[in-house]
Amino acid sequence: MRRSMLFIPGNTPNLVVNSPYLGADAIIFDLEDAVSPGEKDAARILVRNTLRYLDLGGQETIVRINAIDTDYWQKDVEEMVAQGPDLLMLPKSSRPEDVRTVDEAITRAEERAGARRRIRLMPLIETALGVENAYAVATASPRVAALFLGAEDLTADLRCQRTKEGREIEYARTRLVTAARAADIDVYDTPFTDVNDDEGAWRDVETARALGFTGKASISPRHIQAINTVFSPSQEEVDYAYEVMEAIRMAKEQGRGAIALRGKMIDAPIVARARRTLEMAREIGMERSEA
């Protein structure tokens, strides 16, 4: 289960070594924007040694490598793959070819390293072209596990202001959710960047959930609780999911095809949703409330 992803600047030891204790479901070690050109080598070496020698307690790890129009990305792939993070995040994924280029580099690196498990990819969609190509990017490689929207670079590319309300990214958000769901993969919303505005952060997280995102990234540990809370099922949702599964079981026992619950027909999508809710509830230790 991955609701929250926390960005950790790749060259900041204090944050890197404390990253497992900040409450996020996944951590993103950033080798890209958070690292100045003169420190790219140091960040890459620090993240590599961290993945290799630090006990991260089984936490999911993602490394944001540098974009494929830089001189850094190939070395990033080579060195990270050998240490087996769960995913690599590819910034400025605008075309399916970008993803395939990195996919091939990962395959070569995995072969050289004798990697036992397959590293997955999370393309970061942050250009107008990337938004328009979202489905093609999502289906460019079987490694692609999720799409991730990056609104800061995107709004620069769209030549509009980035606002807290986010009207300027409405289209990109719904487009990415639709593309990712059509490709049957996860989809993550852009971080809310005002780390001192807690109310704004909650609103933004709620918007993301209402639109269908799987979860959201954050640049600050302060917003992780909001993300984990909003992207977890509520007690009412968990209780309802139990009722749905019970109604299904009873209908089967009685040999009935169609069933209703609370005056509403229970169809396949409702059952699928109930299953997902219960799966998530189990993972976070939620149970049915006392009747």
Binding site: V17, A42, N49, R52
Partner: protein
């Protein structure tokens, strides 16, 4: 074998980091360590540093470290970065 041909540095003086300076040496490894936890962990830190130097094939260098409570993975990373920057 990696040869240190120029003076180079890596890391910072921030908490949990270690600042490492490396320079060409005359004979063997000349190691100088300053650390807030030198009494408790000085020997262990030195051991990590010597291990990285050995892994990287550095047999002759002057190396100075100012430790701010860095964990082993950070010490390893900063020493390796200094070697890369100071090597050929």
């Amino acid at each position: 074998m990696a040869e240190i041909v120029r003076k180079a540095a890596a890391g910072t003086l921030e908490s949990s980091d270690v600042y490492v300076e490396i320079a060409p040496g005359e004979a063997g490894i000349d190691l100088e360590l300053e650390s807030v936890v030198k009494e408790q962990f000085g020997q262990a830190i030195e051991q990590v540093v010597r291990q990285v130097l050995q892994e990287q094939g550095v047999t002759c260098a002057r190396i100075r470290l100012v430790d701010r409570g860095a964990l082993d993975c950070v010490i390893r990373a900063r020493v390796e970065t200094a070697i890369v920057r100071g090597g050929e």
